[in-house]
Structures are given as structure tokens and as C-alpha cells.
């Protein structure tokens, strides 16, 4: 199983007596692991002497005075009540610290799916994400591993990571402060992952994924969620997004291109005429699972579904965005088209409009077909070491899922 593999790797490295040289010198004297970062965030904040910047509900510094994030509007008493009821239902569903979750999931998967599609309550999001991604199990099965990776291992990617730290969500208060808790935990998670999987290492884009996670959980939890996603704890592994040659990005773009032609033929034709291909606008959708390019409140709702239902939702949301703007897009020439594909209108960014549209688009079967087609055209990636590894991991997943329930007690 993958985690055993990685622990073996770790073991070997430990035996090689790796130095604990920390390139990030400024960090040396600071408490390294910030497992209690929620509290720290508040502390740092209060310690800061400067007037706090105006931020939205998620902590992003507001550009304009009234930049609507779709959620800052004051809520009516009715909405408030409804939200409270929703939270109560969710609490019941997951139990204390997630204790009832697996049972509920087995009994009523469709209820879970429906509720997740409506959005996980923000106050429970971090916990639920860990439950549905399988990362909680990984964490429990691998005590001490994260600490080991962060403190004792060195990574070839350290300088690359440092270069990007202040360029990841630079408008978020948590990540803004130079060497502040946000930047430190982001560095730690990315470094730990780059050691955990040296073949992937660090790739630009991972920072936005890790950053999004860190706003909802501790760095150790975020690390394991990253592992769960890239190694495929519940769904197909996604490390191909970041491997040399970005093989999975290439495959997804191929699939998306075809899906556009299937579902929105007129637009597909227009794209061909204007010589626009999905690489020009959608590569970042896949590479960061929308955490880079969409407003945060919408990205979160997509992530709720993504973690439970798999990458299909990225295709669906992508198609829904194009569908929503279809009648405008088909009229635009190249340059305006590119611009429009990067700056979707405000009203398209409402999750309660966009997501139901996305859910209604069926892609599963076609995605499978297109994957086969892609593999035929481009030579099965499985000839390579990488794909073999992915397959092994897939098998491990099956085993993992079968032994579900036992793990948590191990």
C-alpha cells in the first residue's frame, strides 16, 4: 500500500542520516510546526499593531470597497435560521469528531451526496473534507510521519517553494505576513510533500491547493489531504497533474476539448475558428482545481463536491461556465474571447446558479470513452513507470476501501 511504500522511503532516508539543514534561515528560530494554527492566526492578528485591512468573509483583502463576494450581504433572520438548522443536521450526521460519519456514509450515501452538493457548512468544512477525502485515515495510520518530513528531511525544491510562498494568495491576510504563520505552514506542507514524493516534488499550482486547505485545517491535516488526493485514497490519483510532462493535465484538456464539442457544438466550432484550445483557459482549472481562478466562495463549493465525487465536477463546472456565457462567447473574436474565458461575469459566480447547472451535465460515460481514446492516440501512458505506479496505487485503494472501518481503529 502506498503509505507503507512511503514509510519505507522515509526509513531509508532516516538511515542515511539526513541533515536537518533548513534553507529557510529566517524560520529557524521559530516554532516550526504550527498544528494549532487557528489559534495562532488570531494571536498574530491581535499582536499586529497596524490597522487591520478590510477583508471579506474568507480573509481576502478587499480590492474595492463593495466588492461583492456573494456572501457578505447581511443575512435575513430566515436565512440565519436555515443555516443553523443545516449545521445541526450536519453535526448529527458526522457525530462527535467524525465518529458517526462512516456509518452514515454507508447507510445513506445519496443523502450525503445531496447535502454536500448543497454546500458543507463553513464551520464544519475542514473536518468534513478530511473525512470524505480519506485523509483522516491516512493521518491516523501514519503518526509522526509529517513531523519527520518537515523537520528532518531536506528537499531539492526548498528554494522553489520559498520563491513562491509570498506569491500564493498574496491578498489573503493569513498568507500576507512575511514569515507569518500562514507562510510558514504553507512552506512546511509543500516541503513535506516534496520530500514525501520526490518524483512530484514541488510544482507551481500546488501552493494554491495547499493554501486553500490551510484555511480550513492544520498543516498536518492539509498535508495528508494533499497525499490523499494525489495518491488517490478514495478516487483516482491526481499526481499526474504535477508529474513531468503534466500527463494528466494533457489528458484532461483533451477530454475537456471533446466535451465542449459534444455539449456545446456551436461554441466548439467557434473555438476552432478562433483557434482557441482549452489549454489557453482551462489548464489552471485542472492544475489548481479552481482554487486559482475563481472567487473563493465558489471555489469552496466546488471543492466540497470535488472531494466527495471526484474530478468530474471540474469538467462539469467548466462546461457550466461555458454554457452560462454561451450566447456571449459565440459572438466574440479571439482576443475578447480569451479575456471572457478568464473573467466570467459576476452573476455566473453564484454557486447556487452555477452548480445546479453543472450537476445537470452528464459526463461520466463520455469521460471514460475519451480517456481510452486519448490513451490510444498518445500511447498508453501506462507503458511508463508512472502509470504502473498509478495502477499499483489504484489496487491499493481498492484494498483500502474494502478494509474501510477497520482502519480507524488500527
Amino acid at each position: 500500500m502506498r503509505i507503507k511504500d512511503s514509510s519505507n522511503v522515509l526509513q531509508k532516508q532516516r538511515n542515511r542520516k539526513s541533515r536537518s539543514l533548513l534553507v529557510f534561515h529566517e524560520f529557524e528560530n521559530l516554532p516550526y510546526l504550527m498544528l494549532e494554527q487557528e489559534n495562532k492566526k488570531v494571536d498574530e492578528h491581535e499582536a499586529g499593531s497596524v490597522a487591520l485591512p478590510k477583508v471579506d468573509r474568507f480573509g481576502f483583502v478587499k480590492q474595492e470597497a463593495n466588492s461583492p463576494d456573494g456572501l457578505t450581504r447581511s443575512r435575513s433572520a430566515f436565512e440565519y435560521e436555515r443555516e443553523e438548522r443545516k449545521i445541526r443536521k450536519w453535526r448529527k450526521m458526522i457525530g462527535v469528531g467524525g465518529s458517526d460519519w462512516k456509518l452514515y456514509l454507508r447507510r445513506k450515501p445519496h443523502v450525503v451526496k445531496r447535502r454536500i452538493r448543497k454546500g458543507i457548512p463553513d464551520c464544519l468544512r475542514g473536518l468534513v473534507w478530511q473525512l470524505i477525502s480519506g485523509s483522516r485515515d491516512l493521518l491516523l495510520m501514519n503518526p509522526g510521519v509529517y513531523e519527520q518530513l518537515v523537520i528532518y528531511e531536506t528537499s531539492a525544491s526548498e528554494l522553489d517553494i520559498i520563491r513562491d510562498i509570498s506569491r500564493t494568495f498574496p491578498s489573503h491576510v493569513f498568507f500576507q505576513q512575511r514569515h507569518g504563520p500562514g507562510q510558514r505552514s504553507l512552506y512546511n506542507v509543500l516541503k513535506a510533500y516534496s520530500v514525501f514524493d520526490r518524483e512530484v516534488g514541488y510544482v507551481q499550482g500546488m501552493g494554491f491547493v495547499a493554501g486553500l486547505l490551510l484555511l480550513y485545517m492544520s498543516e498536518e491535516d492539509a498535508f495528508w489531504l494533499l497525499v490523499a488526493l494525489l495518491k488517490g485514497a478514495v478516487h483516482a490519483p491526481m499526481e499526474g497533474l504535477y508529474l513531468v510532462g503534466l500527463p494528466l493535465v494533457q489528458q484532461y484538456l483533451f477530454q475537456f476539448d471533446q466535451l465542449v464539442k459534444d455539449h456545446l457544438p456551436r461554441l466548439g466550432e467557434h473555438f476552432v475558428q478562433e483557434m482557441i484550445n482549452p489549454s489557453m483557459y482551462a489548464s489552471q482549472w485542472f492544475i489548481t482545481v479552481f482554487s486559482y481562478s475563481l472567487p473563493f466562495h465558489l471555489a469552496l463549493r466546488i471543492w466540497d463536491v470535488f472531494l466527495y465525487e471526484d474530478v468530474k465536477i471540474v469538467f462539469k463546472v467548466g462546461l457550466a461556465l461555458l454554457k452560462y456565457c454561451h450566447d456571449d462567447l459565440v459572438k466574440l473574436p479571439f482576443e475578447k474571447l480569451i479575456h471572457a474565458l478568464r473573467h466570467f461575469p459576476e452573476d455566473a459566480m453564484n454557486p447556487d446558479t452555477l452548480l445546479p447547472m453543472a450537476y445537470a451535465i452528464k459526463v461520466s460515460k463520455r469521460l471514460e470513452e475519451l480517456k481510452d481514446e486519448y490513451e490510444k492516440q498518445h500511447g498508453k501512458v501506462s507503458d511508463s513507470r508512472i502509470k504502473q505506479k498509478l495502477q499499483q496505487l489504484n489496487d491499493a485503494d481498492a484494498a483500502l476501501l474494502q478494509s474501510e472501518g477497520k482502519q480507524i481503529c488500527e
Partner: protein, 202 residues
């Protein structure tokens, strides 16, 4: 700006270079006149456009700003293929970024499109005290390789507009055509070019 009788041309331009060299910052300075201290890293690629007037011609640059990390290399060809101009950016305080720049030059040269105007930009020229890449040696390198070279600073705006202006001046279509009938369109492979020029040039 463009009065009747003026020529309008569109030119696809691509920015290449190591991550953090300042590609996005140069574009932002050129297109919006801004500089952001903590510029988000570019994922995939980003598109911008800006016009430059050279004598009686207005050159509209259609700019692709690419992601610099080596891992993204496989996405780059579609942006430099058919480009009329390529700006290869390095950071004068980072020797490695200069080595990356030289690799890009080699790669573009290997593509064999001799019509592409290639410019080398030694960015972050404001950080003179931290300089690692000497200016004179680079100048020599640039001359040997037929590159137009300038040190720039996206931060202070030094040489940014100048860089793009000089590139515009060097575009083959702004040069007197020695043999009009045999002239090859610099961008004859460029999708955007064809699409866009059809809609705006007469």
C-alpha cells in the same frame, strides 16, 4: 492615435523565462503601468494585449505570458510557435535564471523560425547591488546570438516601454520588404494572428 492611412498590425509575442524572473511583472508594467510587489505566480499562461506606435504604424502586441517553472515546459511550445516576437526574461540577480534564458534561446533557435524577433531582458535591474549576471558579458552573448538585449526593471519601469518599442521596430513587417512577392508572413502559423487580423486589419 491611428489616423487614416496608418497601418495597424497585430503581433503575437511570447514571454519565456525562469519562474520569478519577472515576466508577469514586465507585462503588467507595460500593459497597465503597475507593479505589484507580490505578483501571483502564473499557472498555465495568461494573455494580454497592448499597442505601440512606431512612426505611422500601430503595432498591437498579443502577449502570452507563460509559467516559468521547468515542469510547465511542455505547455510552452503552443505559445511560442508562430510568435512574431519572443522576450526571454532572466533576473540579473540570479545566475541560474540566466542559464535558463540561454536554454530558451537555444530551443527557439532550434525551431528555426528566423523571422521571430528575439529579445533578451535582464530584469530587476534596480537590484544593482545584488547583481550576479554581468551586463557586458550578456551583451556579447546577445550580439553573438542575434538577440536584442536590454536590462529592465518592472519595478521602476526602466526600459520596459522601450523594450517593447524596440521589438516593434524590429518586426520584419515594419522593415522595408526586400522582396514583397517572396515575403513570408512572420506569423503564418499563428492562430491568433490570423483570426485577429481578419477582424481588424484592412
Amino acid at each position: 492615435m491611428a489616423s487614416s492611412g496608418n497601418k495597424n498590425i497585430n503581433s503575437k509575442l511570447v514571454l519565456l523565462g525562469d519562474s520569478g524572473a519577472g515576466k508577469s511583472s514586465l507585462v503588467l508594467r507595460f500593459v497597465k503601468g503597475q507593479f505589484i510587489e507580490f505578483q501571483e505566480s502564473t499557472i498555465g499562461a495568461a494573455f494580454f494585449s497592448q499597442t505601440v506606435a512606431v512612426n505611422d504604424t500601430t503595432v498591437k502586441f498579443e502577449i502570452w505570458d507563460t509559467a516559468g517553472q521547468e515542469r510547465y515546459h511542455s505547455l510552452a511550445p503552443m505559445y511560442y510557435r508562430g510568435a512574431a516576437a519572443a522576450v526571454i526574461v532572466y533576473d540579473i540577480t540570479n545566475q541560474e535564471s540566466f542559464e535558463r534564458a540561454k536554454n530558451w534561446v537555444r530551443e527557439l533557435q532550434a525551431q528555426g523560425n528566423s523571422n521571430t524577433v528575439m529579445a533578451l531582458a535582464g530584469n530587476k535591474a534596480d537590484l544593482i547591488d545584488a547583481r550576479k549576471v554581468p551586463e557586458e558579458a550578456t551583451q556579447t552573448y546577445a550580439q553573438e546570438n542575434g538577440l536584442f538585449f536590454m536590462e529592465t526593471s518592472a519595478k521602476t519601469a526602466t526600459n520596459v516601454n522601450e523594450l517593447f518599442y524596440e521589438i516593434a521596430k524590429r518586426l520584419p513587417r515594419l522593415q522595408p520588404a526586400p522582396n514583397p512577392s517572396g515575403m513570408v508572413l512572420v506569423d503564418n502559423q499563428s492562430p491568433s494572428e490570423r483570426a485577429a487580423s481578419a477582424s481588424c486589419c484592412s
